[in-house]
């Protein structure tokens, strides 16, 4: 065993001098044949071992690290610890396994300075969110580039005392100083903590996702947009969107924005929403002609008042609840940049004219999904014909296609397939 260990060490030493990979392979083969038996795995050079380790799941790597000191050294190679995902689940609230506490301890003591891309996946329990914050507040030696706090079930960060969450998060903001991506949807992040983020990471921040962060105000996000000129991707709820924010994002010093995602969620029925000036959107499009505007609507039908009155540069549009024919009619008139449209439900009258208008006016539309939206078969065929092959995604529930005197349900997949130039079927749910 000792001899073996020595040989591994020698092999490692030789590797350090850096022969090419084929050379290394030859050597291993030779070493194997000398003994007349199969390859001695302990002789594997470090660079190959490292590659193998990179392909192994963490648990297997941990097992392998117990083989010998050499493998154990590889296990602790900084390269293998740049990226880590903490999975924090409680048996009472999740079916998934959690990252072992000992491993967490080891990472904090031995590898926190190697961590660069970190995410936390927490289940719906407060304990898990708590545990994530505990880890965060110990990450004082690291310089993170990306950080993601991801709730896999009900958002549990929201249940933490705000101050506790904020102090943990600001540890990372203050110490990292080079954060480029930050995903903190559904958390109690607030304006002062965003200020800390900006003060320390304004030069590097490129992505910020903070949908449903109720403690942030429009002024808070405006401060981020004003200072972080490299910001390319932003996700937030509609109540944070303002004309000032759009103007700040389209200032000369600001890089082109790539994605802007807006979630429009109704908290109380009959809620009224502010509107955004057409001139602000125009400024945004002038500044970043290629930018994608993704909008998700979760509103009651009567809350759409301020939307789709003027032209809006939306590219991806999702209606998560029932939306009226009238609003969909306005979509056809006001969304010339539309690429994808998804409508979960609509009233009982067929959507025919609205779809035709959308086909006519939205020249870039390439994906459409219709749930509970009745459409007559002939209008649907006409729509597909107008859009033609650019429709790369076309999804509709079979049960909402209404046969008429032109086409029955059995003909429609032929007609549509013909215009799309590929085999197409409507979606089906079990009728059982």
């Amino acid at each position: 065993m000792k001899r073996g260990q020595k040989r591994v060490d020698e092999a490692e030493e030789r590797c350090v001098s850096g022969p090419g990979a084929p050379e290394v392979c030859k050597r291993v083969r030779r070493a194997g044949s000398e003994e007349g038996v199969s390859v001695d795995w302990r002789l594997l050079p470090e660079e190959i071992l490292l590659i193998i380790f990179q392909y192994l799941p963490l648990l297997d790597r941990a097992w392998a690290s117990q083989v010998c000191r050499g493998w154990n050294n590889i296990f602790h190679t900084p390269q293998l610890w740049r990226c880590f995902e903490f999975e924090l689940n409680q048996p009472a609230s999740s079916y998934l396994k959690a990252t072992h506490p000992d491993l967490i301890k080891q990472i904090i003591t031995r590898h926190s300075n190697h961590l660069q891309y970190v995410s936390f996946k927490v289940d719906s329990s407060t304990e898990s969110a708590e545990a994530a914050c505990d880890i965060l507040s110990q990450l004082v030696n690291c310089s993170l580039k990306t950080l993601g706090l991801i709730s896999t079930a009900r958002p549990s960060f929201m249940e933490l005392p705000k101050s506790h969450f904020i102090s943990a998060l600001t540890v990372v903001f203050v110490n990292s100083k080079s954060l480029s991506s930050l995903k903190i949807d559904d958390t109690p992040v607030d304006d002062p903590s965003l200020k800390v983020l900006v003060a320390n990471n304004s030069d590097t921040l490129k992505l910020l996702k903070m949908s449903s962060c109720p403690h942030v105000s429009p002024a808070g996000i405006l401060c981020v947009a004003d200072q972080c000129h490299g910001l390319r991707e932003l996700a937030l709820n509609y109540h944070l969107l303002s004309d000032e924010l759009l103007l700040a994002l389209s200032s000369e010093r600001h890089v082109h924005l790539e994605h802007l995602r807006i979630d429009v969620v109704s908290e109380t029925p009959g809620q009224t929403f502010h509107s955004i000036k057409k001139s602000s959107w125009d400024a945004m499009v002038r500044h970043s002609p290629q930018f994608n505007l993704v909008m998700y609507f979760f509103l009651y039908e009567n809350e759409f008042g301020p939307f789709f009155r003027d032209e809006v540069p939306v590219t991806h549009l999702y209606f998560g609840r029932s939306v009226s024919k009238e609003v969909l009619g306005r979509v056809g008139l006001t969304c010339p940049r539309l690429v994808e449209l998804v409508v979960c439900a609509n009233g009982l009258r067929p959507l025919d004219e609205e779809l035709i208008r959308i086909a006519e006016r939205c020249k870039h539309l390439s994906a459409i999904g219709l749930g509970e939206c009745e459409v007559s078969c002939s209008a649907f065929v006409e729509f597909v014909k107008m859009c033609g092959k650019r429709l790369s995604q076309l999804s509709i529930m079979e049960e909402v296609l209404m046969p008429d005197n032109q086409y029955g349900l059995d003909d429609i997949h032929w007609e549509v397939s013909k215009h799309l130039g590929r085999v197409w079927f409507p979606d089906m749910m079990p009728t059982w």
């Binding site: 079916y95 970190v118 998700y296 749910m429 059982w432």
Partner: protein, 632 residues
């Protein structure tokens, strides 16, 4: 010549009509005994609801009554078949055992054991397929050894097969001939159908069955289908409920529980449907979609027949792992009709009271429990249905839940049923809710689907204060759908390795499945041809050509090369999670699979590095485009 003493073993297939195995038992036999095994211990300890037990016992009563007309009886035997058969074989000098083929994995296992016991005892075993329209193994064979993964594919395969065999007539006294059933004086005592009470159920206050069990009832319903008013049956079977609550209610024409217990032969139903179609549509040839209801059932049987873990998330190769919440309290609210959403609660009440709900109602409550609102595992919902739903077959139940929760079968997931709007669209007046939730009876239609939005005076006038007399909604649907659609999107993006912004494109494509019939059966015309209207205008020639083998594009050829399921080909890596949670949420430290690395190379923040060369590239890209690191 030794005499033939037959035993026919009833399990499902609780009927005399179209029962090929039973006819086999009669062929040349001197004696016939029809047995059914009932495990009294299982009854008490099982989770089957009282409605299902009552239905079963009524089926057995009816069977016994029909057998009496043939001078025979049903032998209900208390105990386990494997323990009791060897004794019966000896005692009754059995030489032939017949039963209907059971395609489900546990049934197959049980039957294999009994076949072994029978052969040890020198008993001939005859098994016949009659619970399904088709021989499922043939379908799997046609599909290259794997069950089809999409319903469309299944339809295509099914329509390329010979039509199902016509149903057989029930045995008659003439057919019985000299064959007798030895019945002892104490038969009822020893082998009679037990009462619910004897099985330990509390029947006090039990409402009369909305769905009476038994073959006779099934056939009566079948006949009514073909009665003078066939348009009613037409609407029943083929149209979407519109604008009133009646389709949501248990119908005297409904057949699904009877198909589940085999009181009605699916081949008889198939045959009658064809007749009905020809009658209504004036002899036009029906398209395959006419049989959708029956085919969905076959589809799930086929998908499950070789997969003993079909009803699980873990270790089930066709199930996507989704990090469902574990929440017993929320689950109980759903199961016990306390969600605070009248539409959901009314459906769950109907299910518990009557044992059946409309398929759209199933979609609604299944979506609500899983991907729509509560984010609770489909397995939990499936268990509740198993207890309460009369027509919940193991395969069909699990398959439907896999489908509704978007855990399998490549569903589009964007469409979540709204627990307020969906019901309102079907039944704007809310009569369905009033019927099952009398507490809300006096609410005006305007608020009956969302009573918490009603002003206080309206609530008081309705004598029902929300939060006091009826619960407040347990979730904010808008917020829950926002969260859940986002999670589904992330999960599906990881499956499809799609990185763009499109929601629709995140669903893994499944081209292999969409293609027409198997090349091996090249001579078979694509089913769609049969649907061609005779008067197709000439310019529509394209569509005639399109599916023909001659015109298959290279994409077709490519796809046809994959006779096996995508799961065993390119899809294998993603479809078979080796460790819980690995599939949908790969661990950052590197999860090993090459594809996964490739997938993460682009721009995903939740991921692991790959080989050092790739790693450098990866990190460089991260630095370049750090901004898109989370752009999933």
């Amino acid at each position: 010549m030794s005499s033939i003493n037959s035993v026919h073993w009833f399990r499902k297939g609780l009927r005399l009509h179209d029962n090929p195995a039973l006819l086999e038992a009669l062929r040349g036999a001197q004696s016939l005994r029809c047995v059914y095994f009932l495990d009294p211990w299982f009854a008490g300890a099982s989770n089957l609801g009282v409605n299902r037990w009552r239905f079963l016992l009524q089926c057995l009563e009816d069977l016994d009554a029909s057998l009496r007309k043939l001078n025979s009886r049903l032998f209900v035997i208390r105990g386990q078949p494997a323990n009791i058969f060897p004794r019966l074989f000896k005692e009754w000098k059995v030489s032939r055992l017949t039963f209907e083929c059971d395609s489900e994995p546990f049934g197959k296992e049980r039957d294999a054991a009994i076949k072994k016991l029978a052969s040890e005892a020198g008993v001939e075993v005859i098994v016949k397929i009659s619970h399904t329209l088709y021989d499922l193994d043939r379908i799997i064979e046609l599909n290259g050894g794997q069950p089809p993964l999409t319903f469309k594919r299944f339809q295509t395969l099914a329509s390329s097969m010979e039509p199902p065999e016509p149903p057989l007539d029930p045995p008659t006294l003439e057919l019985m001939g000299n064959c007798v059933t030895p019945v002892s004086d104490n038969h009822t005592e020893k082998y009679g159908v037990p009462l619910l009470e004897e099985l330990g159920f509390d029947t006090e206050g039990l409402a009369p069955a909305v769905w009476p069990g038994g073959e006779s009832e099934a056939l009566r319903r079948m006949d009514r289908h073909l009665g003078p008013d066939s348009t009613a049956a037409w609407q029943e079977n083929f149209e979407r409920p519109k604008q009133n609550s009646s389709p949501l209610l248990a119908s005297p024409l409904g057949l699904s529980p009877y198909l589940r217990f085999g009181c009605l032969s699916c081949r008889l139903f198939h045959c009658k449907l064809t007749q009905l179609y020809k009658k209504v549509k004036k002899n036009a040839n029906p398209s395959i979609s006419l049989y959708d209801k029956l085919l969905w059932r076959e589809f799930f049987y086929t998908a499950a027949t070789n997969n003993p873990r079909f009803d699980r998330a873990e270790g089930n190769p066709i199930c996507i792992r989704i990090p469902w919440d574990r929440n017993a309290e929320a689950l109980a609210k759903w199961a016990e009709a306390r969600t605070g959403f009248p539409w959901i609660d009314a459906i769950m009440t109907q299910l518990r009271q009557e044992g059946w709900i409309h398929h759209l109602a199933r979609h609604a409550v299944a979506c609500f429990l899983t991907r729509g609102d509560l984010w609770i595992s489909w397995e939990e919902g499936m268990k509740v249905f198993e207890e309460l739903l009369l027509d919940a077959d193991w395969s069909v139940n699990a398959g439907s839940w896999l489908c509704h929760s978007c855990s399998s079968f490549f569903q589009q997931f964007f469409h979540c049923y709204c627990p307020v709007g969906f019901g309102r669209r079907i039944d704007p007046n809310g009569d369905f809710i009033r019927r099952y939730l009398p507490v809300l009876r006096d609410f005006p239609a305007k608020f009956i689907y969302d009573p918490w939005n009603a002003p206080e005076d309206v609530q008081l006038a309705a004598k029902c204060v929300i939060g006091v007399d009826y619960p407040k909604p347990m979730v904010n649907h808008a917020e829950a759908s926002r969260l859940n659609i986002e999670r589904m999107r992330q999960i599906y993006q990881q499956l499809s390795r799609y990185r763009g912004l499109s929601l629709l494109a995140a669903v893994p494509s499944n081209h292999t499945e969409d293609v027409g019939v198997n090349d091996a059966r090249g001579a078979t015309a694509p089913p769609e041809r049969r649907r061609m209207p005779c008067s197709a205008p000439p310019q529509l020639g394209v569509r005639r050509e399109q599916p023909g083998p001659k015109h298959r594009g290279s994409r077709y050829r490519h796809s046809l090369g994959h006779h096996t399921s995508p799961y065993t080909n390119h899809g294998h890596e993603f479809a078979v999670p080796q460790q819980p949670g690995r599939l949908s949420w790969p661990v950052g430290g590197g999860t090993g699979k090459k594809e996964r690395e490739v997938e993460h190379n682009g721009c995903h923040g939740d991921s692991g590095p790959s080989s050092s060369a790739q790693l450098k590239d990866y990190e460089k890209r991260r630095e370049d485009a750090g901004g898109v690191a989370f752009s999933s």
